[in-house]
């Protein structure tokens, strides 16, 4: 509001000037010669006098560039190439101007001024986008914003000394902006958003180049933003073409991450599984199948595979989430830890179910994040306890403990929906060889063996089977658990009614068993 009189005309004049100078052959290396002259003009026009004027200048420039694109898009009889040339002619020049202003803002050594300006510009572009999105609704077009963000990102990641000094802050600024523009906030920008966060330069910077994996947590947040957006549509299992396209795009990105950065998926698997809906089995399997690059997985179909003899089984996985803090409220956490320590009071177990139930609305009855956190925390504590006794987890060492009390109580006391979610929480830890995989594999098999009702065994089988019948990949821990279940006569698997309840189910089991044996 209240742009000073004449600012609009000045901005338009300057923008035109700059675009013209940018495209001249004598603009100089990286437009520096043109830039020096142009800055003088900006001073002359008073644009750089105050922070407020600079902000308004950028806002007006952004709006002009965006308007230009909308005009070009409205023109008929234009090829896609001509359209792009027309739009990018101005957009790329604008991006160069921003990059130069950022690079030369303040002294060479003053990184704060540069990053402040970058954050300001990114915030302005994001603000213009969100406003445009709100006003135009279905007529919103992502082209101009997409171009500005990607070209600015590429420019600011050029191999120059000034930029290398501020690289981490640049990446942080972009990640913050992309989080602000996450699909839930700007669904009309969702496809462009995914294209941005999966761009090879962006992935390379965030996951490969920043030292000590300092970009991983920011990138994980962006993926969580994507999963959270997809969740309501995937839960309904009705995929429109649009949702299907975004889902498939998401799978492609996850495949690239699985291939190139499996450790990243390993370390953030917990948070990802917390937000991926339970029915997205293949997507979840993709994440859970990740294993460290230097690890060689033994073939799960090896006869007489002695899982407990594998050296990796003793190693705990890195989980970059404070899952313990997710056990809420704090009073419940306190009671839980007290029970784990003292195995009393018994009433704790009978009240456990009510701590996990949040509503009576079908499909929303249980607090899944708390359930997942409870399972992982209890399991983690159990492993520590067993190790403190100089033992390793096995069907005998995991039994008769406060930890198994909790798991058995949940298996018995929860209704079918709660039990399904509980078993999912356990199965989410069946991954590559590590102490969690081993412990939770034993736990699942123990719950099957000790079940006092066939429904529990049926649901354990259901949870494992549905993860196996989807297309690959399948986590190693899932395979060894299921193989053990069907091969070991101790579990009397084939005698159960639910194994033979329908021809398709029987065929499925036989097919899986054939490949196991």
């Amino acid at each position: 509001f209240d742009d000073p009189p004449g600012l609009h005309e000045k901005t338009e004049f300057l923008l035109r000037e700059w675009v013209s100078m940018y495209h001249m052959p004598d603009a100089g290396r990286d437009s520096t010669k043109a830039f020096s002259a142009f800055v003088g003009q900006m001073h002359q026009q008073g644009i750089l006098r105050t922070d407020d004027l600079i902000t308004r200048f950028f806002r007006l420039c952004t709006e002009m560039c965006v308007d230009l694109c909308y005009q070009a898009l409205a023109e008929q009889n234009q090829t896609q190439s001509q359209l792009r040339n027309q739009c990018f002619h101005t957009l790329d020049a604008f991006v160069r101007l921003i990059a130069l202003l950022v690079k030369h803002s303040g002294d060479t050594a003053n990184t704060v001024t540069k990053i402040n300006l970058l954050n300001k510009v990114l915030g302005i572009v994001a603000g213009v986008l969100l406003q445009d999105h709100e006003v135009r609704h279905r007529e919103f077009q992502q082209l101009s914003y997409h171009r500005i963000f990607i070209m600015l990102f590429i420019e600011l990641n050029a191999p120059e000394h000034i930029l290398e000094n501020i690289n981490f802050q640049v990446l942080t600024a972009f990640c913050n902006t992309f989080h602000i523009l996450r699909p839930a906030k700007a669904p009309g920008f969702a496809y462009a958003w995914l294209e941005l966060v999966s761009h090879r330069v962006f992935i390379g910077r965030m996951l490969a180049i920043i030292p000590q994996q300092r970009g991983w947590s920011m990138y994980a947040q962006l993926l969580i933003d994507l999963f959270k957006f997809l969740t309501p549509f995937l839960r309904n299992t009705e995929l429109t073409k649009a949702t299907h396209m975004l889902y498939k795009g998401c799978l492609r990105v996850l495949l690239v991450l699985l291939h190139d950065f499996p450790e990243f998926l390993c370390e953030y698997h917990y948070m990802f599984c917390n937000v991926i809906p339970p029915n997205c089995i293949q997507m979840r399997n993709l994440i859970l199948s990740a294993f460290p690059l230097n690890m060689r997985l033994p073939d799960p179909f090896t006869p007489n595979l002695k899982v407990d003899m594998l050296p990796e089984i003793a190693q705990p996985p890195r989980i970059m989430t404070d899952f313990v803090a997710m056990i809420q409220p704090a009073s419940f956490k306190k009671e839980l830890d007290s029970y784990l320590k003292t195995r009393s009071p018994v009433t704790f177990l009978s009240e456990l179910r009510s701590k996990l139930q949040v509503s009576s609305e079908p499909g929303m009855r249980y607090n899944i994040p708390v359930m997942n956190a409870l399972v992982l925390h209890v399991g983690n504590q159990a492993i520590e306890y067993i190790h403190s006794k100089g033992l390793t987890p096995s069907m005998s060492t995991i039994a008769h403990s406060s930890h198994m009390d909790i798991f058995q109580n949940l298996a018995v006391d929860l209704d079918t929906e709660g039990r399904y979610l509980f078993l999912n929480a356990i199965s989410n830890q069946l991954r590559y060889p590590n102490s969690h995989t081993h412990y939770f594999s034993c736990t699942l098999l123990y719950l099957f063996a000790e079940a006092n009702a066939e429904a529990i065994q049926e649901q354990i089988t259901r949870v494992l089977l549905e993860r196996l019948i989807v297309n690959r990949p399948h986590p190693w821990g899932l395979l060894i658990t299921f193989i053990e279940l069907i091969k070991n006569p101790q579990f009397k698997f084939w005698g159960h009614e639910f194994v033979h309840c329908a021809p398709e189910i029987e065929k499925l089991f036989e097919s899986v068993a054939r490949s196991c044996m």
Partner: protein, 185 residues
């Protein structure tokens, strides 16, 4: 047995529904991930050639931009002096280059159309270009085939190779249809 959606019956119901409802297939049994255009057996990384979440193929080499010395960026100085692209002016060597380096692009179709008009034919099964050797008559011929000596374009060695071949006419591609694209240079 558990009779709601959380047991085996629930799973069975879903599997049966997914057989007839394609909307359900994407989540279970899911997608064959090897068909998404990513070489999952690649010894090198995938992200550096990742084109887009919607693309069925990785980047072509020419699409990957790098920061090069600004002295290399001569486009602004010479682009107004470059001749229009006219495929009928170029030798076969360049046409093959354009065909093989621009997979999934209009330029591939345009190069194919030009090769066709120069009597090269694309064998759909062998996936190779061939043309008759001038002055060599077929050894045998019928309505649906002929046997003769042809020039094959060997893309791996980048040369034309003479070979006798039993050619079935229906295996040859018809004239490629190239969409008219305005604005090429």
């Amino acid at each position: 047995m558990v009779m709601d959606q959380f047991g085996m019956v629930g799973l069975l119901t879903f599997i049966r529904a997914a057989e007839t409802d394609p909307n359900l297939v994407a989540l279970a049994p899911g997608i064959d991930l090897t068909t998404l255009g990513l070489n999952l057996n690649s010894p090198g990384n995938l992200y550096s050639t990742f084109q887009s979440p919607w693309a069925d193929a990785p980047c072509r080499p020419q699409d990957i931009d790098y920061h090069v010395p600004s002295e290399y960026l001569t486009s602004i100085f010479i682009r107004d002096k470059l001749a229009q692209i006219r495929l009928n002016r170029y030798q076969e060597d360049l046409l093959f280059f354009l065909f093989y380096l621009n997979g999934g692009d209009v330029l591939q179709l345009a190069a194919a159309a030009e090769l066709y008009s120069r009597d090269w034919r694309y064998h759909k099964e062998e996936r190779v270009w061939l043309t008759r050797v001038p002055g060599v008559e077929p050894v045998s011929r019928a309505a649906v085939y002929e046997r003769s000596t042809y020039f094959f374009f060997d893309v791996n060695n980048w040369r034309k190779v003479q070979k006798e071949f039993h050619l079935e006419y229906d295996k040859l591609e018809e004239r490629p249809h190239c969409p008219i694209v305005k604005g090429y240079n």
